[in-house]
Symmetry: D2
Subunit: 449 residues, 4 copies
C-alpha cells in the first residue's frame, strides 16, 4: 500500500489529476476562491482536495500568475484589523495570559493557515519551499513581500525544527536521486562527472553527510564534504587531487570540512549549517576516536572585492607599501611569475588576516567567515596560493583559510562573537593582522574605516 | 551510521548520559536556568546539549516536580508585557502588515520557543507529547493551564500537519513494537491475546490502517480497524466472531470501520480521525474497486446514560407508553428474556434514532455520533441487540449504529452539520425518530427540552 | 514493482491462479506429465508456468495424493540405468576427469532436476522444505524413501549453504510474522503469551538471534535465546523468572544460551546450530567486550529414560546403593520432600555426569549433549533441581546442564569428539562420574554395557 | 547488528584480517593444507575461519598463483578413483537406487566441497564468481580446465536457480553502487555520462530491470533496458535520441527491449536472459495493460563478418548481382551517398533476412538471433540504416532487427527451434529471404553451404 502522501499521490496521482482537470469546478475557480476554500473548514476529505487543487494550480502558474498570487496573499490574507482591535482592547482591559493568547491568535495573518493547509497536498512541503524561492525571486515586485516572507519563515522554522532533521551519510549506497542533487547543488568545488562524484564519496578517507527532512526524502537540505587527513591541509589539491595517497581512516588525525552547500534557496534564513557540523563532529568522533582536529578549508569569497575597494579608495587603510606591492595583481598570470607571487604573499596574507579577523575595527563581512566564527570556530590559518582555480583566483586571489572547531572553545567563542561580532583568531594569524595594522597606522593616524 | 536523532541518541546515549550525569553543571542547575539557556542563542552544539539537559531532567521528574515545572512555564515564560505594549502602540500608529507581524511576534509566549527547542533533544517529539499529557492530568492544579495548553496545541498543530502524516497498513509485517501499541491502545473492542490480534489484521477480509509521524515511527497516532463484508453488518459478531466465513476481498461490497482509536492523549484536540477515514477510503477504493459502501459499526456510548436521565426526569420527553416499556430494563438478564427484549426493541431503537439524529431539537451529544456526522457521514441504521458484551449493554443497551460515508454527500452533510449541528439521517431512521417524537408530542404539547 | 518471486506471485497470483484453474490443460494433466514437462526444456516462461502448475497441484494434494507423488518420484525419476552403464564403461576405459564427470552426471536422479526447477515457482523454496517434511512423515510408506530423501538433502545442502544464511537479531522491531514463528517454534521453554514473548526479547539483558534464508524472509531456520548474566546460572528461574533483576549488558560477564530451536522439520540433517552459536558468540563479543564466558543452560532430555532403563535391567551398571536410593523417584512429589531430594541428589547428579560424559565407555546418547560436545563445547556443570517444570521433571528429573564454549578449546574438543565420540568434561564433573563408576565397579567387575 | 555475512565481515573485517595476517598459522600454510582443512570437518567456527583464510589468500594471489591454485584443484581434488571403483562394483552387483546414490556421491569431485565451503567466507559468492572468471581467462593454460569449469557451473546452476533471483526495476531510486554497475556493464549502447544514464532510466517512457542474487545485492546479474513507444521502432534514434517526444506510458502500445547486458563473466553459461524477458513482460503487462507488442531492437553483430566471408569466397551463395552491388560497401562514407545506399538496401536487407532466419539451410549463427529465436521470439523486421554509429556500421552495416515476443507463440516457436534450429520468421522477412535465395539459386544449382 502507499505509505506516505508523496507515494500515495504518485499512485493515484494520474487518476486524481485527470478528475481534477476534467470535471473539477475548482480548476477554473478564481484564486481567491481557492484560498477561501482552504481557509473554510471543509470535511477532511474536501480539505485535502482543496489543498491539491491549489497546489495543482500553482504548479501550472507562469511567473506573471505567481506575482498575482503572492500579491493576493499579501494584500487580502493578512490578519483581520477589526479582530486585532478587539483583541487589543480586551488585552488592555485585563492583561491576562488568555488575553495575550487571543492577541497572538488575532494578529496571525490568515495566509499562514492557507500555507499550513496547502502542505497537505501531495508534495506540499517541497512545493511550499519552492514557492518561497519563487517569492524571493519576485521580492522587488511584491509590495508586501516582507510580511509574506516572514510567514513562510515562521512556518519553516516550526517545520524544519532540529528535532525533525535526519542526518545521513551519503555514499554510493545512496540513491541516484540523492546523488544527483549532490551534483546539482555542490556550490564550492563543482562536480563535473560521475568519476568526480565517486572521488568525493567513495574513498576510505572521504565522508559526505547531509540533513534531510522526512517530507523531502530525496532532497538534502544541506550537505558537507569531509576529508580525513593527517594534518591541516594548506592547499585544496591536498584534498581534491585524484592521485593523492588515501589516508587510512583510523590513522587520520584531522577531519577537514572542505565544502558546505545549502541546497534549498526557499529555506533561506533557516540555519542548518552549525548544527550539521556539530552532528558530523559527533558522528566522526564516535566512529574514529583517533581524530584530534576538526577544521575547514574555506574560501574567502569576497576578499578580492575587498582588496579592489581598498585600492580604489585613496583614503583606505592600505599602506603605500602594500599599495605598491598589490600593483602586481594587475599583471595577468602573476601566479606563474615567482617574483610577483613572492612580492604579493606578504601583503595579501596579511590583509587576508586583517579582513577575516574583523580586527580592522568592524565586524567580519566575509559570509563564510561570519558563518564559521559565529558557530564558535577560530580563524586558524591563512593559506597562500591555496586555490589556483579560476574562481579561486578571481574571488580571493587564491587565498584559502582554515577555521578550527575546538570543541572546548566553541561555546566561549560563539558567545564572544555574539557580543562583539569579532571572531576568535589564532595567535599567528593575529600577528599577521597586527603587522598589517601597524603598516597602515604608521602612515595614517586616522582610525580605520 | 546513525540516521536520525533517535537512533543517534541510542548510540551515543550512554556516553552522553554519563557525561551529563557526572560532570555536567546543568544537572543540578535550577529549572529556570535550563529554560533561560534554551531561550538564549547558544552555539548550535550547545543548544542541542541544553535541550538534552532539560529533556533528561524532565524524564526524572516526580509529578510534584512536573507541577512546579508547568507552573514555572505558565508564570514566567509568557510574552513580555512591555514588548506587547510597544508593539500595540506601533501598530496603532501605522497599522501596517509589518506592525501586525511585530504584534504577532511580541505576543508569542516565550515558552513556545522553549518547547520548540526542546524538540531537538533525542526523542524530543514523543517527550513533548507525553509532557502535554502530564499537564492535562495536572490541569486543575495549574493556574495558567489554559494558556500553556494552547501553546502545546499551537506547536502540535504545526508539527502534526496533515502533510507530515504517513498512512500505513498494519498487519503481521508490522513490527512487534507497533503491534504492541495496537494491543495497548485498542479502545473499542479490546484485544486480549496474540490470537485475537492476528484475527484483527491477518484474515483476507481485515484491514488495519494507522497514521504515523516521522518522529515517532513506532507509535501510531490513531488507527482504524476495517472489515470487508458483503452487506452492512447489524451485529458485532458478524465482524468479530472467530468462526465467521472469510469474505474474499474482491467480492466484498462493503468496508466496515468497526473500531477507531486515538493513541496519544497528549495530542488531544489535534484531530486525525476524519482524515484517516478519508485516506483509508481512497486506499480501499484503489485496491478493491468492487467496494460500494463505506460504513461504520459504532457504539452509542452515552445512550444508556441519556435513557437513565430521561427516566429520572418526570418532565422529560419520554411518553408514558415508553416509560412503562423501559421498566423492563431494570429486570436483570432481560436480553435473554424474549418477551422483555421484544417489548424493549420498539422504544429503544426509536429513542436511539431520536438521540443520535439530534432531532429532539438540540445538537447531537453522543461523542461518536458527533465525530461521524461532523465528518459528513449519515446516520444509516440503528441495530437492535447488536453488541451483547457487558460494556455494550452497560453503555448503550446493546444498540449499535451504522454511519454511512457516501462520498458524493460527505461535503454537503458536513456543511449542513457545521451550520445546524444536526446530522444527516437515512429516511428509515428519521421515520423511527418521528414515531418517537409523535408519541411524546401526543402527551405533552410543550416543546421537547 | 514486485521485487521477488514471492511478492510477484502475491501480486499477480490471483490472476494467474484463475487462469490456471480455468483453462489451463495442465490442471488435469497426470502428475507424470507435469514432471516430464518440468524435465523438458521449455521456453523460459513456459518453465516458470510448469513449475507453478506442479507447485499448485502439490498444494491441493491430500496425504494420499502425496504418497502417490513421492512414490512416482522415487520409482520413475531416478537415474537412467542404461546411461549409467554407458558412463561406467566409458570411465573404466579411460579413467579421465571428464569420464568421472560424465559418471557423476549420469548417476544424478532425474527428480533432482524436477525439484530444482520446482523452486522457480512462487514460494518454491518453502514449498520444497514442507514437501520434504511431508515425505519424512510418510517415510515408512514409501519404498524408495531413502533415495528420495537424499535428493532433498543434496539440494538443501547446496541451497542452505552457510554463505547464504543471514543472522538477524529478533526483538520488538522484528515483524509480527517473525515473532509469531518464535511463539510457534520455541521448543524448549514454551512461550504462552505476548507478555512472555516480550520478556524473551525486550529486556536489556536478553538477546534472540536467528538464521534466515533469503527465500524465506519471514520464516527463521533456527533461533537461539540468550540471557546476559553475571555468573553461570544453576537454575532455569535465574533466567526466566519475570521478577529477576535486569543485568546491565555492559556489566554482564556471561552469555547463557538457554534455548535453541530448529524451526524447519523439512531441513532435518542440514545443521545450523553450531554455526549459529559461533556467529552469535562473535556478535556478542563485538557488542559487549566485557563478556568472559559463553555457556548453555540445557536440558538432558533422555536422562530419565536412561535411568528407567538402568533400573529395569538387573544387570545394569547401577550399584545396589544407587538402586536403593533411586527408589525415592517412585514417590510422588519427592522434590517437595527435603529428605527424599537430599537422598537423590548424590546418585542423580553422579549418574547424570556419567550419562552425559559418555564415560560409561560408550558414546554420548543424549541428543542435546551430542550436539554441544560435537560443536566443541565442554560439559561444565550438572545442576541439581534446576528445572522443576513438569516436563523438566519428567524428562530429566529436574537436572539441567551447563555446556561451556571456550573459544580457545572448541576446535581441539571438536576434533577429539570426532575421533573418540567422547566429549570434553570439566574436572569436577569428571570426578562426579568417576565416583559413580567406582561404586558400580566395586560390585560388578564386568565391563559396563 | 550486522545482518548478513557480507555486512558482518565489513564490520569485524578489519580486526579479523589483522588477526589472520599477524598470527594466523594459516597465512603461510601451503594451499593444499588450506584445501584439506576446508574438506575436513572442523568445528563450525573453524570451518568459517578456514573458508576466510582461503578466500583471503585467493584475494592476494597473482595470476601466476591462480594458475597454480586451479591446477591444484584440477589435479588433486577430483573424485577418489578407488571409491568410484568400489561404488561401481556395488552398483553393478545390486543396481539399487541406493547404489546409484552412492555412485553419484563417489563420483563428485572433492573440489566441489571446497568451493561450496569457501562460499561461507564473507563475500564468498562474489569471490567464487570472479574465481571462475579468472579460470576462464586462464583456460588454455589449465590442463583440467573443463572438469574444473563444470564444477563451477554445477554449483552456480544450483545457487543461481530461478527461484533465488530477484527482479528489480532500476531507476534513480536505485543506489549509486548499482547505477555504477549499469554504466560499467552496458554492453550494447554505451552510457558515457550521468546525463545519459538519467536518459535511460528517468523518463516516463523508459524502464530498466535487472536480476539480482541475494548474496550480491549491489551487483546485477543481467539487465534489460526498455523503451515504451507507439510503434515498433525502425531506427535506434527513435529510442535513444535525447530530444525525442516522451511517450505517455499508458498510451504506449509497444515495449521495446533495446539493450540486454549480462554482467557477470563468471556466470557464463548460466542463462538468465530468457527468464528476465519473461518476467519483465509480466511486470509491464500488469502495470500497463495497454501494451500490445513486446519487441526488441537488436543488432546483428556478426552480419558484416558474414558478408565479408561470402564476398571472399567465390563459391559462396552470393549471386553475381549482389556481389556487384556489395562492392559499394568498399566505398568509404557510402551511407552519406544516397545512390550507394539505395543500391545496397535491397541486397543487404535481403541477405540480413537470409542470415538471421537461418533459412540458408543451416542454423542461425548470429548470437543475438540465436538467443531471441531460442527464447521463442519471431524475426519480425529487418531495418535498413537503423544504427549509424561506428560500431553499428562496422558490425552490421547499420542493419538492426526487431524480434517479436508474441506470448501466444513463444512456446511453439521455442519448441520448433529446439527441434530444427530454425527460428520463426515473419512473412515479410521470409519473403525477403526467399528473394535472395532465388537469386542465388538461379545461378548456382548447388545446395547452399
Amino acid at each position: 500500500m502507499s505509505a506516505n502522501p508523496v507515494q500515495f499521490a504518485q499512485k493515484i496521482g494520474g487518476a486524481l489529476m485527470r478528475r481534477i482537470q476534467r470535471r473539477d469546478p475548482l480548476e477554473s475557480a478564481p484564486l481567491s476562491v481557492l484560498c477561501d476554500l482552504l481557509l473554510a473548514d471543509g470535511a477532511p476529505g474536501q480539505a485535502l482536495h482543496n489543498a491539491s487543487a491549489l497546489a495543482d494550480r500553482y504548479r501550472r502558474m507562469t511567473p506573471q500568475d505567481k506575482r498575482a498570487f503572492f500579491t493576493l496573499l499579501g494584500e487580502h490574507y493578512g490578519a483581520d484589523e477589526a479582530r486585532i482591535d478587539l483583541a487589543i482592547a480586551a488585552y488592555q482591559a485585563q492583561r491576562t495570559p488568555a488575553g495575550m493568547g487571543a492577541l497572538h491568535a488575532a494578529s496571525e495573518p490568515k495566509r499562514q493557515q492557507i500555507l499550513r493547509r496547502l502542505n497537505a497536498a501531495a508534495g506540499g512541503t517541497a512545493l511550499l519551499v519552492s514557492m518561497r524561492k519563487d517569492a524571493l525571486g519576485l521580492a522587488r515586485e511584491l509590495p508586501d513581500f516582507a510580511a509574506l516572507d516572514e510567514d513562510f519563515a515562521h512556518l519553516f522554522t516550526a517545520w524544519f525544527n532540529a528535532g525533525f532533521l535526519t542526518l545521513k551519510r551519503l555514499d554510493l549506497s545512496s540513491s541516484g536521486a540523492v546523488l544527483n542533487r549532490l551534483i546539482e547543488y555542490e556550490a564550492v568545488h563543482e562536480i563535473g562527472s560521475w568519476a568526480e562524484l565517486r572521488r568525493r564519496v567513495e574513498p576510505a578517507d572521504r565522508r559526505c553527510y547531509a540533513f534531510f527532512h522526512p517530507s523531502m526524502p530525496d532532497d538534502p537540505l544541506i550537505f558537507v564534504e569531509v576529508a580525513l587527513t593527517a594534518d591541516i591541509p594548506a592547499h585544496i589539491d591536498e584534498v581534491l587531487r585524484s592521485d593523492r595517497p588515501i589516508c587510512e581512516p583510523h590513522a587520520a588525525r584531522t577531519a577537514v570540512f572542505y565544502s558546505i552547500s545549502n541546497c534549498q534557496d526557499g529555506l533561506r534564513g533557516i540555519s542548518f549549517g552549525g548544527l550539521l557540523i556539530k552532528r558530523v563532529v559527533d558522528e566522526l568522533r564516535a566512529e574514529l576516536p583517533g581524530l584530534r582536529r576538526f577544521v575547514t578549508l574555506s574560501p574567502a569569497p569576497r576578499f578580492a572585492r575587498w582588496i579592489k575597494d581598498l585600492r580604489a579608495d585613496p583614503d583606505s587603510l592600505l599602506s603605500s607599501e602594500d599599495r605598491a606591492a598589490l600593483a602586481a595583481l594587475d599583471q595577468p598570470g602573476w601566479p606563474d611569475d615567482p617574483g610577483a607571487a613572492a612580492r604579493l604573499q606578504g601583503p595579501l596574507t596579511g590583509l587576508a588576516a586583517l579582513y577575516l579577523s574583523g580586527s580592522d575595527g568592524g565586524s567580519v563581512t566575509d559570509p563564510v567567515g561570519r558563518f564559521h566564527l559565529g558557530n564558535g570556530a577560530r580563524l586558524e590559518r591563512v593559506n597562500w596560493l591555496a586555490n589556483p582555480s579560476a574562481r579561486g583566483m578571481a574571488e580571493s586571489h587564491g587565498v584559502m583559510v582554515n577555521y578550527l572547531y575546538d570543541l572546548d572553545e566553541i561555546e566561549r567563542n560563539h558567545r564572544a562573537f555574539e557580543r562583539t561580532r569579532i571572531g576568535a583568531v589564532a595567535p599567528a594569524v593575529a600577528r599577521l593582522a597586527r603587522v598589517e595594522q601597524r603598516k597602515s597606522a604608521r602612515e595614517a593616524p586616522r582610525p580605520p574605516a
